[in-house]
Structures are given as C-alpha cells and as structure tokens.
C-alpha cells in the first residue's frame, strides 16, 4: 500500500479584540500525518469568558491527537459504528484530560471552556467529530465542497457549546463516511461569517477554492505557514472579525509528484 501524501498547513492568530483586552489567543490547532498515513486534524476555540480557556483548548487538542493516533495504530474496521465509537472515545479522553488538569490546579472545569473539532482521513474513510461552533469542510474527488457537521450554536449570537459543559459528550456530532477526500479545511468560529453563507452554512466556493488551490500548490511548508499567518492577521480579515481565527488546511498531493513530504507535524497556538 502506498502511503498517501498531503500538503498540510495550520495557523491560529489572535483576534484584534483579544489584543485590545490583553487576552491571549485562545484558539489552538494540531495536525499529524501518522506513519501509516492517517491524517489527523484538530481545532479548538477557548471561550472568551473563561480565564484559562487557552489551556483548555491546548490540552484538548493535544490529547485528542494522541488518542486518535493510538486508536488508529491497529487499523479500524470498515464500519460507520466503529468510526463513531472511535471518535466518541477520543472526545471522552480529551474531556478527561481537561478535567484532570482542572482538578490538579484546583480550578473549576468551566474556566477551561473550549470547543473541539477533529477530522480523520484514513484509507477511504472520513470521520469528523465536533462539539461547538467550529466547522469542518471537505472537498470530494469531484471537487464538491461540503460541510460535514454544522457549527453548533445557541439561540443567541454569543452563546456557544463547549467540551466542558455538563453532559457535553451528548452534544457531540459525528460524521463518518466511506468516501475519498481530496482536501479538508478546519476553522474556528472567527471566520464563519466570512466563509459561509448564513443561515444555511453553505461553504462559499469563493472563500474555499483559493484556499484549497493554495494548499495543493504549497510545496514549502514554512512559506505556506507564513502566508497563512499573514492572511489571518491581515487588515482585510481583521476588518471583518475581531475574534481569534484558525485555519487548518490539508490537500492530497497527486501520487505522481516528486515531492514526498516527510512526516508533517505542526502543533501549536498562535502568538
């Protein structure tokens, strides 16, 4: 079996309102292409009102990557229920890690409030899990863009769902389907109003196609990341959102290509 190759890039950049209020970037993300070729992408958005939410986001992201990687080591059976169970277990472990950390520092769990969204591409399966108002958009092999799970929102524009809220795992939405994926975009809520036509959350091709073309052409991961950071911090973006914003991008590299990327790993938070 040939190991699939991907171009992967990700960045989280502090929002202007966070800068003004001296609040750190509370978004976090991580990407991993495992040795057996499974692609793992995660984004998290710490709550603006929760004082240690950047830690909640960071811990959740780190743990869910570790849980998914470990669960995938032996391969997954080809059924939707198995994938759903795998995603649910990874979210449970991510929550557990945040709970343990909160306990260890004697701080209430809701101080670490964060959303969490992950996507896994493994062989010809796509599995996505999400709590909160992140968004995961996939492009199939025919070039169709689709939203795998609708951002979860309350009635009001400043209400949100978090991994740390009571009974959170019951709100987990999971998408698992056997289909070939050409590219994936994960984002936090800061970019929703720029990237989707509301209220139906239809992904806008004018937003996503240039991003995907950029990712597919991004031979140099350093340059791609720096372009992405510049874009997310640009005046143009900041004039439309004052929130933290994250993009994680992955595009499959054509098998004929001469640039087999080495193990790509990019984990971290914006400045």
């Amino acid at each position: 079996m040939t190991i699939p190759q991907w171009h992967i890039s990700g960045a989280s950049v502090q929002g202007t309102s966070h800068l003004e209020k001296n609040v750190p970037c509370q978004d976090a993300h991580a990407c991993l292409l495992t040795t057996r070729g499974d692609l793992l992408l995660v984004v998290a958005d710490g709550a603006g009102s929760a004082e240690r939410s950047q830690d909640g986001a960071g811990i959740a992201v780190k743990q869910i990557i570790a849980s998914l990687e470990s669960a995938l080591q032996d391969g997954v059976s080809d059924t939707e229920p198995n994938w759903q169970a795998l995603i649910a277990q990874a979210f449970a472990e991510a929550l557990q890690a945040v709970v343990q950390f909160a306990d260890s520092v004697n701080t209430p769990l809701n101080s670490f409030a964060t959303t969490l969204a992950c996507a896994v591409v493994s062989d010809d399966w796509l599995a996505v899990g999400q709590i909160g108002d992140g968004a995961v958009v996939a492009e199939d092999v025919d070039g169709n863009l689709f939203l795998t799970a609708r951002p979860q929102r309350g009635e009001y524009a400043n209400e949100a769902y978090f991994l740390t809220m009571p009974d959170a795992l019951s709100y987990l939405s999971i998408y698992a389907s056997r289909q070939s994926i050409r590219s994936l975009v994960l984002t936090t809520d800061g970019l929703l109003r720029l990237a989707f036509k509301l209220p139906g959350y239809e992904p806008s091709p004018q937003f996503f196609q240039p991003l995907l073309a950029f990712t597919a052409a991004a031979d140099d991961p350093e340059q791609a990341r720096s372009d992405l950071v510049a874009f997310l911090g640009s005046v143009r973006v900041n004039s439309r959102t004052d929130d933290d914003k994250t993009l994680v991008l992955a595009a499959r590299v054509a098998p004929t290509r001469e640039h087999p990327d080495a193990l790509a790993s990019d984990e971290g938070r914006g400045k």
């Binding site: 929002g15 309102s17 958005d45 710490g46 709550a47 603006g48 009102s49 929760a50 939410s53 409030a113 959303t115 108002d133 929102r153 009635e155 009001y156 524009a157 400043n158 209400e159 949100a160 978090f162 809520d189 800061g190 109003r193 720029l194 990237a195 989707f196 036509k197 509301l198 209220p199 139906g200 806008s204 004018q206 937003f207 240039p210 991003l211 073309a213 950029f214 052409a217 372009d227 992405l228 510049a230 874009f231 640009s234 143009r236 439309r240 004052d242 929130d243």
Partner: protein, 220 residues
C-alpha cells in the same frame, strides 16, 4: 515582496448580527418640564453615540414605546437609521400596556430575525418612569419576569425621582430597579449605548462586561 496567494480568498457578505433594545419611556404629565427636556437630550446623546460606533450602528436596533395618556410605538430600526423623536409629556401612566407592547415587539423582532437568517443577541427592554402605573400592570410585569426567566430578554428598570421603585421592581426577575441620580439622562444613555455596543460585538462564549454605572444613586 511577493503577493500573498491568499489575497485571492473572497469573503461572504452576511447580514450583521443584531442586538435589539426596546426603550419604554414614561412621557406622562409628571415628566413635563425639565425631566422631559433632559430625557430628550439623553435620546439625542444616545443617537449620537451609537452612530459614532460604525459596527454598533449596524448591529444595535432601537425600538420605542412611549406611555403618557396613550401608548405609542415606533418599530425597530438599526441605529444608523434611528431618528430620536422630540417627546412631549402629558396624560396618565399606562406602563403595563406599554411593557406588554414592547414584549410583543421584541418577540416579533426575534421571529423576523429567525425567518431572515439573521444572528441576534438577547434583546434588552429598558424601562424608564418617574411615577407608578395607572393601568393594570400586574400581568405585564409577570410576563416580563417570565420572559426574562426564559432568557428571552434582559429587563432594566430605571426610576426617576418620584418613581414607585417597589412596583418597578416587579418587572424584572434578575435585577433591582436603579434610581437615576437627579436628571442625568445623558449619562444614562451614554452608558446604554456603550453597553449595547459591547454586547453587539461579543463573540460566541463571551459575556460582555458592562461599563460602570455612574448615573444611579447608591443604595440607601
């Protein structure tokens, strides 16, 4: 420097999320003279401050219900379209009917947001009076409390000198009425525009902290 290839990314134009406020204002006979003049000046200040904040001007929606003899309503418009009327004072104080009208207007407004796919924040009902209701107000007060308990609205009740604060306290289940210091309507409305601006810019998961109240008398 090479152009960033991501300059090609185009953004969707979605409608701005809205934060509706219903101003429920006492214009009964007892408000005549300096009180109504200061209230009018306060409304001018409110209008000016909201328009000075470009995003608040697009996101805050102002509706008005005045009560003095009759109840008169002006439906919601975004702050950039708002023109404060010059209010005149006369007649009795049908506060119950006015609050009921404002609650209905807010419910209708939320429905129209939903139908049109517009995001919105929890609306405010801002009630100002210098007296006591002269109509049957109990069921309107109960409705306001119930709506607030169901997180449908935030009610702020402000008493001007002479107001029956005991009755006013029945209109909110969450907060006590505040007593305006003298006739500092301008300070009151400055605070209101700042507060609404903060709410209307809050992102998911944020509770906007409200500015300090400088216009109310301290509890006695």
């Amino acid at each position: 420097m090479a152009q960033n290839p991501l300059e090609k990314v185009e953004f969707v134009e979605n409608p701005e999320p809205r934060c509706a406020v219903a101003l429920v204002l006492d214009v009964s006979g007892s408000m005549s003279g300096q009180a109504i003049a200061e209230l009018n000046a306060g409304l001018q200040e409110f209008d000016k401050d909201l328009k000075a904040d470009p995003l608040a001007a697009l996101r805050v929606e102002v509706g008005m219900v005045t009560f003095g003899g009759a109840v008169t309503a002006v439906d919601f418009v975004t702050a950039d379209q708002f023109h404060p009327p010059v209010l005149a004072a006369n007649g009795e104080t049908p506060m119950g009917q006015a609050v009921q009208k404002a609650l209905t207007m807010l419910r209708d407004r939320k429905n129209s947001y939903k139908v049109n796919g517009i995001d919105y924040y929890r609306p405010w009902l801002f009630l100002i009076t210098d007296g006591a209701p002269t109509d049957a107000w109990e069921s309107a007060a109960a409705q306001a409390r119930q709506e607030e308990d169901q997180k449908g609205v935030s009610v702020y009740a402000i008493g001007v000198e002479g107001a029956d604060l005991q009755t006013l306290s029945q209109f909110s289940s969450k907060r006590q009425p505040l007593k305006l210091k003298g006739l500092t309507f301008r300070e009151l409305f400055q605070w209101l525009s700042k507060s609404l601006g903060a709410v209307a810019l809050s992102n998911p998961g944020e509770q906007a902290p409200l500015p300090t109240v400088g216009w109310a008398e301290a509890d006695t």
